[in-house]
Amino acid sequence: MSTFIAVLFWFSTAVIILGLAYKIRQYWVTPAPLKIPTTPAPTTKTGVVLRMAREVVVFESLFKSNLWIWIFGWMFHVSLFLVLARHLRYFQEQPWFLVNIVQPFGKYAAFGMVIGLLGLLARRIFVDRVRYISSPSDYLMLIMLIVIGVSGMVMSFIQHTDIIAVKEFFLAWMGFSIAELPDSLPLIIHLVMVAVLLFIFPFSKLLHAPGVFFSPTRNQVDNPREQRHLSDWAAKLESDKPQG
């Protein structure tokens, strides 16, 4: 079992790293030939950084548009962030100071995460507009995250696992060797699902995480009159232009 999990994780870790690198490179090199920020938009780079920060940290546009999705969605993401921060301890010999601070909250963040996810799932099932736009994969994604969350909670609150052993396993794993994992069903479920999550990340809508930073409607500076914006492929059309 330990070997299986180790190999699975090497595989899905490679997929997410290479996949995201490929996608980010694609977003990076694909030109945005026209200035299309959704206005009113910041007129300076600093302004754009602040706008982006508000989108990523407090989901500003979502807050404007739908309070319920915002509540559940934000609760889920903030909790996810805390949970992941807490998880760093499995990968670091000596966890960072900040990771230690997060530990106590991180544990209860699991509730926020699962409640948020259940809320989002309920909307998907009961609001006719959201149901109409949902594919099976949209439900599966939420269910998968709920399973990850619940199996984690089982370990934290009900059926404790030897987390020292888990840590040793992953420290060894990072050095490309295989240690023994504790024998625990919730742990196996947790880890298999996490491996699936890592694997599908670069092929699915989870690309929203890198995508948001590359969205031209949010990351462009509103200065088209002051600064000429010309993409490479558009520049090739320039030769026929009447000259002044």
Binding site: S65, D138, L207, G211, S215, P242
Partner: protein, 516 residues
């Protein structure tokens, strides 16, 4: 014509239950070969169009980062589902922004993503909502991508700023490239290439019209205000939508611009070559056509030797001018760099007001109570002045300077959240009347509320399409078609020209109109 029902205006804008398929066959006429070919598109649906469309989608995603990010990033959160006026007015779920995007995304997923390609091999593409390119899909594209006014309201509310307008443009471009364009937009672009403007108004007719307007102004004010055409060596080239030359209430706006220029003491001209501010290349999502149309303005400015370019009241034209003109037809290093290039007529007038250079008698507009419709492209795709949001402030300040009675509509229906008039984005055609009337519902609801509660009598706009659309759809909602006015019409009413005779007769007339 009226084979559809005007939706019922309720007290508040209401999110309707889904009624799949109600707008299924409400698409526009398909372009004929004569409309397609001058734009460089095949005359009719080509052989093997499925594969060609798939290839064109791949090309589009390589050319536009926005499209690439939008295709991948949508999480189907549903935040945008109730933000489109066409959905609110028609109840058809495919008019929800994300569903509209999905018409394109589902095909993109199948042919251009690893997940789609892999799952299709297993016959499991339905898991991720991927679909084949079929005739039914093309029909849906044609229908529903022409029920989007590219207004960008959805993009304001999407957590990633996904702009359905960009997807609509890409889909329309793909369709045109495989031979299925839209008649209305393509025919108009053809006229611009052939004659110089959307209406196909040739130079002599234009000169005639302008002369008529000069006479009208002189009759009314006793002052000779010129509307020059193709005059070389002047300060300003005015580029304005061709509807301003004859349509009501547009033409009153044009007379307003002329009076403002006159009072400012600047010299100016219109151009017969660039006798059109509109740029339907934007609507059909085709960069090359949009660029070609824009270059006429550069040419005209060079030929006439002007120092500045000013745009008249038009929404999408201002988007193309403000956001794209520098890219498409710049750099404008031959113009006077002390002024914004290009400048909006409202910026021009507002500056003069700030400098106290214009004299007004706002009581001339006292018989009206005004509200202001923010046009989508001005609100969400451009700016006026130096500060973000100037596009909302500047026109309102102008109106409040020249009118005493002004109220805003409900806050969520103006500013960046403004509802489209229902006729933008290449939909201002009779074959889309049901779409236009239904799409106007949210705006008509907000307007009806201020009419009933605040006694609003008129709505000012700064967009030729909005003005024409409202004139047509207001009666469907039991409102008067002449409720729509141009902002510069209000300016014109109140502006006191130097040397103008203020006669009794004039005042009597306004008094009469007020009691009507």
């Amino acid at each position: 014509m009226a084979d559809f029902e005007t939706p019922e205006v309720r007290e508040h804008i209401h999110i309707p239950k889904l009624q799949p398929g109600v707008m299924e066959s409400s698409g526009p006429f398909i372009a004929k070969p004569d409309h397609q070919e001058p734009l460089g598109f095949p005359g009719e649906l080509v052989d093997n169009w499925e594969q060609k469309a798939i290839d064109a989608m791949g090309e589009a995603v390589k050319k536009y980062r926005g499209l690439a990010v939008f295709m991948d990033s949508c999480v189907k959160c549903g935040a945008c589902t109730d933000k489109c006026h066409y959905y609110l007015g028609s109840t058809d779920p495919k008019n929800m922004p994300v569903a509209r995007q999905d018409l394109f995304r589902s095909v993109y997923r199948k042919y251009h993503t690893p997940a789609g390609k892999f799952l299709s091999k297993l016959g499991l593409e339905w898991l991720i909502g991927a679909k084949s390119m079929t005739k039914e899909v093309l029909d849906d594209w044609h229908n529903y991508y022409h029920q989007c006014s590219e207004c960008r309201r959805c993009s304001v509310y999407c957590p990633y700023g996904i702009d359905t307008a960009e997807v609509t443009m890409a889909a329309r471009d793909v369709m045109a490239q495989v031979g299925q364009g839209q008649k209305y937009s393509n025919e108009i672009i053809g006229k611009v290439y052939k004659i110089g403007n959307n209406l196909g108004l040739p130079e002599p007719a234009l000169a005639d019209t302008l002369e008529g307007l000069e006479e009208d102004i002189e009759d009314e004010t006793g002052v000779k205000v010129e509307l020059p055409l193709d005059r070389k060596g002047v300060d300003i080239l005015l580029v304005t939508p061709s509807a301003d030359f004859f349509a009501e209430p547009h033409v009153d706006g044009l007379m307003g611009y002329a009076k403002v220029f006159h009072e400012a003491g600047v010299t100016w001209t219109l151009s017969s070559k660039a006798s059109e501010a509109a740029n339907f290349g934007l609507f059909i999502g085709n960069y090359e056509n949009m660029r070609k149309i824009s270059l006429r303005i550069r040419e005209a400015a060079l030929e006439l030797g002007v120092k500045r370019i000013v745009f008249g009241e038009c929404g999408h034209a201002w988007r193309v001018a403000y956001s794209f003109l520098n890219t498409l037809a710049g750099p404008f290093d031959f113009l006077d760099q002390n002024y914004p290039i290009p400048q909006h007529i409202c910026e021009f007038t507002h500056d003069l007001i700030q400098q106290d250079k214009l004299k007004f008698d706002p009581s001339e507009n006292d018989w009206m109570t005004l509200t202001f419709h923010d046009s989508c492209n001005v609100a969400r795709a451009s700016r006026m002045g130096d500060e973000p949001g100037g596009q909302f402030r500047i026109p309102r300040e102008i109106i409040k300077t020249v009118c005493n009675n002004y109220v805003d509509m409900a806050p969520e229906t103006i500013g960046e959240g403004t509802y489209c008039c229902g006729g933008g984005g290449g939909l201002l055609t009779d074959d889309l009347m049901s779409v236009r009337v239904k799409g106007a519902l949210p705006r008509m609801t907000a307007l009806t509320n201020v009419v009933q509660d605040e006694g609003v009598t008129h709505m000012a706009a700064i967009c030729a399409i909005c003005k024409s659309q409202f004139t047509k759809v207001l009666p469907y909602y039991n409102l008067g078609m002449d409720m729509v006015v141009s902002v510069h019409q209000l300016v014109s009413n109140a502006l006191i020209l130097t040397g103008q005779e203020t006669d009794e007769e004039d005042e009597e007339q306004t008094a009469e109109a007020a009691t009507e």
